[in-house]
Amino acid sequence: MLPEISRSVIKNSLLLALFAAVTVAVVAITQQSTESRIATEERAAQIRALGEILPAHSYDNALLDSVIYLNESLLGHRTDTPTYIASVEGQPAAVILQANAADGYSGTISLLIGIMADGTLSGVRVIHHKETPGLGDRIELAKSQWIKSFDGKSLNNPEERGWAVKKDQGDFDQFAGATITPRAVVTAVHKALQYFDQNHAQLFAHLKTTEVSQ
C-alpha cells in the first residue's frame, strides 16, 4: 500500500508541477511583454479622466506625478485620498480634489472636482455612486448634463445662499422626484470650494517643494 502511495504522490506532484511551470512561464512572459504598455494605458486612461474636468492645455506639468494625499473630514475623506496639482510653468494652475458626499440617497457619492487657481470650477464628475437608477443617477454625465451646471461657478458665484438646490431656494436645479442626491452633490462641491479657499496656499506650497526637490 505504502509504496503505491508514494509513487502516486511523486507522480502527481511532478505532473502538476510540470504543467504549472509551463503555464506560469507562458503567463509570466506575456506579462513581461505587456507590462509597459499596460502602464502607459493606465496613465492615459487616468489622464483622460482628469482631462475631462481640466483641459490638457491648461497645465504643463506631469499631473499624475504631481500628487499629494489628503485626509480631510470637510471633503468627506476617510482614507488618504490623492489630490492632483496642476501648474503652468511652475506656477499654480489648478487642483483636482476628490470629495465624498456621505449624504446621498443610498450611500456615498464620490466626486472629482477641478478648481482653477482663481477659485472657479473647471469641472465636476461623479466617479462612484449608488443612487437610484432613473432618479439619482442623473448626476452622471452619461445620463444628464446636470453635472456641467457647475462649470465656471465659484465660491461667490453664486452667492452663499445660492449654493443649494432650487427647492431649498438655491440656484441649482434638482431632478423631478429626487432632491436628496443633487442636494448632496451641491453641498459637497460647495464644501470643496470652501476648503480650497481656506487651504490653497498649502496645496500649492506642495508645488513649490516638488519644484525645489526637482
Partner: protein, 194 residues
C-alpha cells in the same frame, strides 16, 4: 464585530453574490430542482468557499504580495480551489457514498463555480481585509448562496407541478423565477450605506 456583521448582511442580503452580483449561477440553476440536492450543494459550496477564501488569502499575503506576483492571482487561486475541491471530492466519495451520489457531479463543478474564485478575487481586491474578514466574507458568500439556492429549490419544486406553458417549462421558468427573486432582493438595496 459590527464590521463583520456588516460583511455578513452585505454578502447575504444586500449584495447577494448570486442574485445581485451574478456569481455562481450555473449550479444555482442546475442543482435547484430538488431541495435535498440543493442542500447538499449548499453545504459543499459553503465549505469549499470558506476553505478557499482562507487558502487564497494566505497565498495572496504570503506568496503573491511579497514576490510581486499579483498577476498570477487568477492562476494560483484557481489552483488552490481546484485542489481543495478535488480533495473534498475524494474524501466525500470515500466516506459518504450517499452524499457523493447527491453531489458527485457537482463537486467538480464547484471548481468552476464563479462564486469561489469571485470571492477570492474580491477579497484580494479589498486589500484592507484582514484574515478574519476575508474568511468571514467567504463564509457569508456561502451562506448567501445557500440561502437563495434552498429557497429557490423549494420554489422550483412548487413550480414543477404547475401548469407552466410548454416552451417555458424547465430552464426558462426557472430563469424567470430567479429574475423575480432578484427583483424581490432589490428591496434590500440601500440597506447598507457604504
Amino acid at each position: 464585530m459590527s464590521e463583520l456583521l456588516l460583511i455578513l448582511v452585505s454578502a447575504i442580503l444586500v449584495n447577494n453574490f448570486v442574485l445581485v452580483q451574478f456569481l455562481g449561477l450555473c449550479p444555482f440553476m442546475g442543482v435547484s430542482k430538488k431541495v435535498e440536492t440543493a442542500i447538499g450543494l449548499s453545504l459543499a459550496t459553503t465549505f469549499v468557499l470558506t476553505l478557499a477564501s482562507i487558502c487564497s488569502y494566505l497565498v495572496q499575503q504570503y506568496i503573491l504580495k511579497p514576490f510581486d506576483l499579483e498577476f498570477l492571482r487568477t492562476i494560483s487561486f484557481i489552483l488552490v480551489i481546484a485542489v481543495v475541491v478535488q480533495f473534498t471530492e475524494m474524501v466525500v466519495n470515500k466516506t459518504s457514498p450517499m452524499l457523493y451520489r447527491v453531489l458527485g457531479i457537482f463537486l467538480p463543478l464547484i471548481t468552476t463555480n464563479c462564486i469561489v474564485l469571485g470571492v477570492a478575487l474580491l477579497n484580494a481586491n479589498r486589500s484592507e481585509y484582514t484574515f478574519i474578514q476575508a474568511s468571514v466574507n467567504g463564509f457569508a458568500a456561502g451562506i448567501g448562496f445557500s440561502l437563495v439556492l434552498v429557497l429557490f429549490a423549494a420554489m422550483r419544486e412548487r413550480i414543477a407541478i404547475a401548469d407552466v406553458p410548454k416552451p417555458f417549462q424547465g430552464a426558462a421558468i426557472g430563469m424567470l423565477t430567479a429574475g423575480l427573486m432578484s427583483l424581490a432582493f432589490m428591496g434590500f438595496s440601500g440597506l447598507i450605506k457604504l
